[in-house]
Assembly symmetry: C2
Homo-oligomer: 431 residues x 2
């Protein structure tokens, strides 16, 4: 049943600065796509089944451009180290466990179950380097009804012996097998090429990933310029590169490349310390930035210059980055994005105006949604993802506009307990 | 019934750096005071009624050293301005409404009801400048079972005409009447002298408040060095003062003063930009700092140097500062305190080590609790405030320690939906 009408207080981003709201309006879904928002229901849709959500708020689903499924187990813990030490001390030992499919099943079932209940409708996921556990995660994600890209991680150095892959060759071989097995298996769950980050990938592995990408044309995700210690290490490993992102670009895993006529859909998490050259290459290549403000605070990484990225019309979305981020809530990521941008303005650059609420909402929906195609809006032709918010638990003595209620719902994080329905690509998620 | 035993996983701060946890332990309350925590129940308490909370977590109640009750109505909204503009545009117009007792009743009932359900057991509140609404708030707080200081605000300049008091004389006159009416009226709810901040208080008013303080010996709360624009304005108003806090001190409203042998229990919110001299005077005078990290981000104020205050052994607690802060959760304030301290370390002072989880928990309990006496701990002799946390909604595949579960509960904010019981001074709060 992908043809229906929802009625309620509708909010969505028309553009970066235009957060549109309409009280008691109709949004129409036909064949899984939006036909637009209407004050009065057009006659041609009168026969469609209608769900009246009354005074509730209807928004597009949240897009999480960066989340590590295996790290969900230790979300909200282990927040006392910077990135490289945090990886060694907490993250790699946890990820080793996913060699054991029983553990993976237990852990990933918890993760997927929670994702299903939240406001996120689409996500870009890191799994671990293990193929069986990654396929299991993909099966669970498919069953959840959410849309996702899932990456088996490639990493042939720089981690614990148990977690590193034995060689670039083996890493590539397993990846070929994995992609062949999953690329056409699922309707909603697709593979994404996932070099962990340069400190964990030899040049030989990167070269093989380039070949894999060219063979299958699948998108790419990784980490970029997150933390000063990490960046120093990349400079040490690749002294001839002018900047970190250039390494990915050297292997054609960094967005569009007009020289060889490729367009690799790429998302890079963090981009906190990107140099001017790196930013310019990302802009030119259409690389997506997954802004992960909570993680960047928790691991003492810093604050990404999101005002600059927005003003350059770069592609920017939000990532929860569990478990560098402690919460899978993209509502929380919106709040964090606004808050850290104010500290950036105060301490780093008083020319960089704080991120506004409409801009944060844009990043959480339309900005990140573009990675999935026409996603993140109720404009005609967009895939129909919707979340229905019940904010009656938030009492107030005065009249509020829909926009004020939405802002409050986001700041107070009612995505944890205030979601009364959720639709992905026109199908209702039952949780 | 103030004599009983609770059993469960007990956590509390023994000191700034020592967050003690004990699985399946007993904590004993006799006559509203703790008798301590025990692995085995001592024989003299065997006859007391025992509540077994099983695998749940038992912590002291949270202390909120700074919250504006009338601003609760617009929590999570209006986050686009700095302090002085935010006051003029959003806060003063909302506070004007508390002239109307019907509105005040509606708004304060919502506020008190929510406070009752949260993890906070004691709070230091700003009301508005209106005496009737302030007394109403005090009655509602008393009924809630929570312990609080409530301040009728003094403000005779610098606001809207409707909100300013007509003169220093009238402000003082109303304040005398209010204190006389409430000082012995309630068991749990006490008045606190509340000059809004220097921009809203003439010298004449400050002089009268000094006299009132000396007459009644009640504690004092105000705001200090929150935002650069505010501080500039204070320098303009009081050019002869070396620093902002000196103005309060000139009127003997700034902690201990050995010269005149007074000890005015004082809490100052924010202290983001306190100069070295100001910090030294606060330390010397034993002035409490109410650290309000969310508010300081939301209003782009900055980051208070809490590492310094902790290392100087100053008195520091946490404040939600609703509605500069968007949430009344002190769990959230703990997370925020840790996160902003990491950004302070990264961008301001790499000598200032980030706040640890045990330190944040200390500030939220024992640190702020000292403002109320022997409060914020389960050590023998402390008033018995406790919150029982049910974290079963947070699933995990691995074994976790009690400390890991507590940290996760705080980061993920389960104080909103995971509190299964709450005790204040030995009495259970029914909500």
């Amino acid at each position: 049943m992908k043809d229906f009408v929802l009625k309620g207080n509708i909010c969505y981003s028309k553009s970066k600065n235009d957060l549109f709201t309409q009280k008691n309006a109709y949004v129409v879904c036909v064949n899984g796509e939006s036909k637009g928002v209407f004050a009065e229901l057009p006659s041609q849709y009168m026969e469609l089944p209608l769900v009246d959500y009354g005074d509730r708020i209807i928004i597009p689903g949240m897009i999480d451009l960066h989340i590590h499924a295996p790290q969900y187990a230790f979300r909200g813990m282990c927040m006392d180290l910077e990135l490289m030490d945090w990886l060694n001390q907490y993250t790699f030992p946890e990820e080793e466990k996913y060699e054991d499919l029983d553990y993976a099943k237990k852990a990933y079932s918890i993760f997927v179950n929670e994702m299903q209940k939240g406001a996120t409708t689409r996500a870009v996921l890191f799994a671990t380097r293990h193929r069986p556990a990654t396929e299991l995660l993909m099966e669970l994600m498919e069953q959840s009804g959410l849309v996702s890209y899932v990456g088996k991680v490639n990493m042939d150095r720089g981690a614990t012996e148990a977690l590193e892959e034995e060689s670039a060759e083996i890493s590539a071989h397993v990846t070929y097998g994995w992609i062949n097995a999953v690329k056409d298996k699922f309707a909603r769950t697709k593979p994404i090429l996932t070099p962990r980050f340069i400190p964990c990938c030899t040049d030989e592995l990167m070269e093989k990933l380039r070949q894999i990408q060219m063979t299958y044309g699948i998108p790419v995700q990784s980490h970029l310029s997150e933390s000063p210690g990490e960046i120093d290490f990349v400079h040490f490993l690749r002294p001839d590169n002018a900047f970190y992102g250039e390494v990915y670009n050297d292997y054609d895993l960094f967005g569009k490349n007009d020289d060889i006529n490729t367009d690799v859909k790429t998302v890079m998490a963090h981009c906190v310390w990107s140099t001017a050259e790196e930013v310019e290459l990302m802009r030119k290549n259409g690389v997506f930035v997954a802004h992960c403000p909570a993680s960047n605070m928790n691991l003492s990484s810093g604050i990404a210059p999101i005002r600059k990225y927005l003003d350059l019309n770069m592609k920017v979305g939000l990532g929860s980055d569990v478990a560098g981020g402690h919460s899978d809530s993209i509502f929380r990521a919106m709040t964090d994005a606004i808050q850290v941008s104010k500290m950036y303005w105060r301490y780093v650059d008083q020319e960089a105006k704080p991120v506004t609420f409409p801009e944060a909402f844009y990043m959480a929906t339309l900005g990140g949604g573009e990675f999935f195609g026409k996603v993140g809006s109720f404009e005609e032709g967009y895939e129909f993802d919707a979340v229905i918010l019940d904010d009656t638990s938030l009492a107030h003595p005065q009249e509020l506009t829909v926009l004020e209620r939405l802002e409050r719902a986001v700041y107070l994080g009612i995505d944890r307990h205030g979601i009364c329905a959720k639709y992905v690509a026109g199908e209702q998620i039952i949780f």
